[in-house]
């Protein structure tokens, strides 16, 4: 079977090369034949990669240890679902998944535009195929997934215990769908420059593709945070780890693009800026892969370090140089069509919003890479971790929160003093009131106060926008309550979908504030019968027991949890010793409510028989996960709006 896999990858490489050459030839000569063949080759790459994945998955599930990849990442005692997800546990499998998602995007793109005869779309497919060449060449020559062992071992090395989590079944594929998806906006941008294409239709198409992968990347980042929360067992969900930062950066720049693209659509401005943002988003998504694979930085998420980092770095350098050269070459194409009426306007707020998003990205990039830079210059090793990012990124993020409320209520072109007063008076009042209400409940410090003010301010502006929308539309106003809101959203999905996304973001801000600033902690060794008090909770150790599970031995503490006088039941924080790796792993116990999480960790069992218990109350952490779902819903609503695309189509017809 390994021959089929190897052949599939090799043919995928050849098809990618053929697609690039054939489409380029077709575009140059204007002949339809080569264009058609090139498109078919892109389809072929998708089919061949799927075949390679099927071959590798079959070997993983059957534990065919003659495959080196299978022997390195699975074992006989590994549950089948984790054997399936081992595909993305190692470098070769991850790259294969990357290529599959990439080729699937290529195929989805061709399917979406199958009725368009415009060669512009062939140029987009050519850029996608160009990126495929890079990934297929890596899998063919540098990091082949179908290497065979001359003497297969009786059992494999097993899967990293940290990856044996249900979240890992979906987190990497969703994250990759986001990361890799930015290839389509990038390809559109490069194709526009290559083909010297004017018009605004393409920018609406790019916006939709970007929104789609932006949603997946954001959701994937949140799933990663959730995985860190339940699996790493340190009481938090975001540690500003290099790999976490790497996934955040393209999301931030993608968000900046999704805002500034509106200025281009409405006013024909910021064209160069938007193309630059598209390119930067794509390059940062490749950079994320480079960080995860290269091993240049220490990360709790780097499961697959290797020597392919320089290849990625080379690809980033080449692709960004080509993109920059094209932007400079086609400068005239990207000239703004308009002038601005006033500085204080929606356009102005979007520009400042972009500055803040880019500043946040820059701070994250600098902090992430600075240990390498500092060591190269000074020779001394340093760490740049959460204490740095919390001090530098939090104020910038809070400024963004405030702008999230201000931007949507500023009108396009010009804002008069009366509009400012009408739109800002109530939200500012609500923000101040929320802050004052929060003070007696322990709201202290500049950042928490600004966060509460900002959150209330943004929510007030969103509510006002909905209320005004309902009032302004007679047909909507006739509906009652929730139906009026639904009806309003249906009328302008893009606008109100955006507001829902903002609302989800505010929920995340409040969740982060609550769970970081108001977190409570208690720890200590407990002998059976002893109790630990934490806020309203009482944790009484009943005992410690050993319990075998599928492929590990759990040593777990049995804690009787009470809140006030009410007994809530037992909780079982544990230490798991995986048979294969012989690494002790933390298995937390979690009691979740909408208001707070009780997060319990067993640090270990001491010689005197006492159990070291660490307990946290994380208030409002559920808002982070719910906020993420709200953001996804808002994005789906915004994506459902095809009005503008239809209008552009009509104009183009």
């Amino acid at each position: 079977m390994s021959e089929i896999g190897r052949l599939s990858v090799l043919l995928a490489f050849l098809c990618s090369c053929f697609a690039v050459v054939s489409i380029a030839w077709g575009l140059r000569t204007g002949m339809a034949g080569p264009l058609k063949s090139g498109r078919r080759a892109v389809w072929m790459v998708c089919g061949l990669t799927l075949l390679a994945i099927i071959v590798l998955e079959r070997a993983l599930i059957a534990r065919d240890f003659s495959f080196r990849y299978v022997a390195e990442h699975t074992s006989l005692d590994l549950p089948p679902m984790y054997a399936f997800s081992s595909l993305w546990a190692g470098q070769e499998g991850s790259l294969l998944l990357w290529l599959f998602v990439l080729s699937a995007y290529g195929a989805a793109f061709l399917w979406s535009y199958r009725k368009r005869l415009d060669p512009f779309y062939d140029a987009v497919a050519m850029v996608v195929a160009g990126v495929m060449v890079f990934f297929t060449s890596l899998l063919t020559f540098v990091s082949p997934p179908f290497r065979i062992l001359a003497t297969p071992p009786a059992d494999g090395n097993g899967l990293n215990p940290l990856l044996q989590d249900p979240g890992m079944m979906i987190h990497p594929p969703i994250l990759y769908t986001g990361y890799v998806g930015f290839i389509i906006p990038f390809a559109f941008g490069i194709a526009v420059l290559l083909m010297n294409r004017t018009g605004t239709r393409w920018i609406e198409e790019v916006r939709r593709w970007t929104l789609f992968c932006w949603m997946f990347l954001g959701f994937g980042v949140l799933l990663g945070a959730r995985w860190a929360y339940v699996e790493l067992g340190w009481g938090g969900y975001w540690g500003w780890d290099p790999v976490e930062n790497a996934s955040l950066m393209p999301w931030l720049v993608g968000t900046a693009f999704l805002h500034s693209v509106m200025v281009e659509q409405r006013r024909g401005m910021m064209k160069t800026w938007n193309v630059a943002l598209i390119v930067l988003t794509f390059e940062l998504s490749i950079f994320g892969t480079f960080l995860t694979r290269s091993g240049v930085l220490t990360s709790v998420h780097s499961f697959t370090e290797s020597n392919i980092g320089p290849w990625f770095l080379g690809f980033i350098l080449i692709s960004s140089t080509i993109a920059t050269a094209l932007i400079l070459y086609r400068k005239a194409l990207l000239e703004s069509e308009n002038r601005l009426d006033a500085v204080v306007s929606r356009e102005g707020s979007f520009l400042f919003n972009n500055v803040l998003f880019l500043a946040l990205t820059f701070a994250t990039f600098l902090g992430t890479t600075f240990p390498v830079l500092s060591e190269a210059v000074t020779g001394a090793k340093i760490s740049v971790s959460a204490p740095f990012f919390n001090r530098v990124n939090v104020p910038i993020a809070l400024a963004l929160l405030l702008l999230t409320g201000a931007g949507p209520v500023l009108s396009w072109k010009r804002v008069t003093a009366s509009v400012l007063k009408r739109n800002f008076l109530i939200p500012v009042f609500v923000g101040v009131l929320a802050t004052l209400v929060g003070l007696p409940f322990g709201l202290h410090g500049v950042y928490p106060i600004v966060c509460v003010f900002g959150a209330a301010f943004v929510i007030a502006t969103i509510v006002m926008e909905f209320a005004r929308g309902i009032q302004a539309r007679k047909d909507v106003a006739e509906a009652r309550g929730a139906m009026a809101v639904v009806s309003l959203v249906e009328k302008n999905k893009r606008r109100y979908g955006g507001y829902i996304v903002h609302f989800g973001m505010v929920m995340i801000f409040v969740g982060v504030l609550g769970s970081s600033v108001f977190q409570k902690e208690a720890h200590g060794p407990l002998l059976p019968g002893e109790s630990l008090a934490l806020g309203p909770y009482s944790l009484k150790l009943r005992g410690v027991e050993n319990k075998p599970v599928a492929n590990a031995q759990h040593t777990r503490a049995i804690l009787d949890v009470s809140r006030g006088d009410k007994y809530l039941g037992p909780a079982y924080p544990a230490k798991a010793m995986y048979f294969k790796s012989q690494q002790p792993m933390t298995e937390i116990a979690l009691r979740q409510t909408p208001a707070e999480d009780l997060y319990l960790i067993l640090g270990g069992v001491n010689e005197d028989g006492s159990a070291s218990i660490q307990a946290y109350i994380n208030p409002l952490v559920s808002l982070i996960w719910v906020g993420g779902i709200v953001m996804v819903l808002g994005t789906l609503i915004a994506l459902a709006d095809r009005m503008r695309l239809k209008r552009e189509e009509k104009l183009g017809a």
Binding site: T200, G233, W234, G236, G239, D241, Q265, R266, R267, G268, S299, V300, N338, R339, L340, A342, V343, G348, L351, F352, N354, V355, A359, F362, G367, F370, S374, T378, A380, K381, I382, S383, V384, S385, A386, P387, F388, V392, K413, L433, L436, V437, G438, P440, F441, G442, L443, V517, F518, K520, A522, A533, G535, G603, G604, S612, Q614, A615, R647, L651
Partner: protein
Amino acid sequence: MRPATWILIAALAAPGLLGGSPARANESASGKKDPARAITSQLICPCSCGEILSGCTCETGKAMQGYVDRELKSGKSKDQIEAALVNQYGEVILGAPKAKGFNLLVWVAPFLATAFGFLLASLILFRWVRRRVPAPSMPGDPGAGDAGRGGGVGPGTTSEQDLDALRARAEAELKRFRE
């Protein structure tokens, strides 16, 4: 706002402003600030796990947490403990580098970049406001390039002269259409 509203707001705010709040940030369960956590949350575990020491559950991490606890109980200050650890493990144990020498760059650059970005954005905005659109299709039409994008002549901005020009253009386009 009525005086009664101000009194209500003041009553709600007073306990917080005077410091009599029922809960405080980063408190331990007993209600007292945990000085050990204040130190360990700024340090990195010295093993290769790369985690913040306060949340690290590896053996090295637990040993280090115990060390900080013991040193605090023996009367050493935060600075003394940090200095001793830096002496032993190097600056890599600090969660954030000290703002001196070359490492000052990482603290200053993000804020300088943000300030520069704002300055640049402001300059660009003023330039855009002052800019003349090349060969506008109609005199007095501020949204000349807005066709099809929801722009155009706004209410109250069109003079009589502009309207004449608009009529002339409409007639010319109709004529062309009929031909």
